[in-house]
Symmetry: C2
DNA sequence: TCGATATAGTTTCCATGGAAACCAAAAGGC
DNA sequence: GCCTTTTGGTTTCCATGGAAACTATATCGA
């Protein structure tokens, strides 16, 4: 009958602590540009993909389709994203960046770069590589090259 | 003029991906016991502290006081937590576990232990220690032995 | 001691995201 | 070719948590 594990006994606790902090700081930076973290992820994915159905975006972001509908509405209202009907599928929709959306991405990426540098300043380049290796090892073992959902 | 960094270029991305996944899996486990992750954290902190003012709990959990008020209400409604007036400060409140709340903590801690084992199964004991070291190094550098808030 | 200020807690309002119900179109079985 | 089932997307409802306003008490300075 040992004492119940304290919070700090779990790697999961530290992972969450650091991750939340890094994301919160990143959110602050993005906020200055009027963008949320989720919006950044969507914009960056669409930057490469050119156009995606909401379901694809949802899968890659680890969100539900419902959440993506709403996210897309917000981005569309600000003129950063356009929605068009899928030519082949009467139900389908394609999401794509507008010119304004595309033009915004580099600045956001720079914010991400700066955040990254600041967040992991405590680690040497080798240690950062080490951390990267450990995290990706867990990720692949858990089968998540993509979604943290369910 | 290089291309904007892809999401996967940032450690922060992997950190968030893995952290969210681990927390989501943990949330599933706790859900079977009718508890959320935030509730677990509160219960575990109160288990050691015996009694805390809401502001203290908020600080240690990285939540606002408003959020703690509501969290405490939920736990109180389920008979896991009791609220009492502070003897010395007319404004103050003390939160403490009920017997039922206290009795629940060991089972929750075991769920946390099992989650931990499953989540980091990809890593050897040495690698887990390594990861722990890297994360705590970042945490202390960022001044967060406690709150991811602000 | 009284008035100004600070502090503890709560409440209200808002934003985000999940779950599930729902609708329309496509695909499959016969 | 129909009827059932599946799939893509949206909508509705709910839960959680932050921000800011608000209340009550305590503290500080003159």
């Amino acid at each position: 009958m040992t004492a119940p594990s304290p919070l700090t006994a779990h790697l999961g606790y530290w992972l969450r602590l650091v991750s939340n902090h890094v994301s919160a700081r990143f959110a602050e930076r993005l906020d200055r540009l009027g963008i949320t973290v989720a919006e950044w992820v969507a914009l960056r994915l669409l930057f490469d993909a050119d156009s995606l159905p909401p379901s694809q975006l949802a899968a890659r972001m680890g969100l539900t389709r419902g959440a993506v509908t709403k996210l897309a509405d917000r981005l569309r209202a600000r003129g950063l994203l356009a929605r068009s009907a899928d030519a082949d599928d009467g139900r389908g929709v394609r999401l794509a960046l507008t010119e304004a959306g595309r033009a915004l991405v580099p600045a956001l990426a720079e914010a991400a770069d700066r955040n990254e540098a600041e967040a992991f300043a405590a680690l040497s380049a080798e240690d950062r590589a080490l951390l990267h290796g450990l995290l990706t090892r867990i990720a692949t073992r858990q089968g998540l090259t993509a979604p943290p959902l369910a």
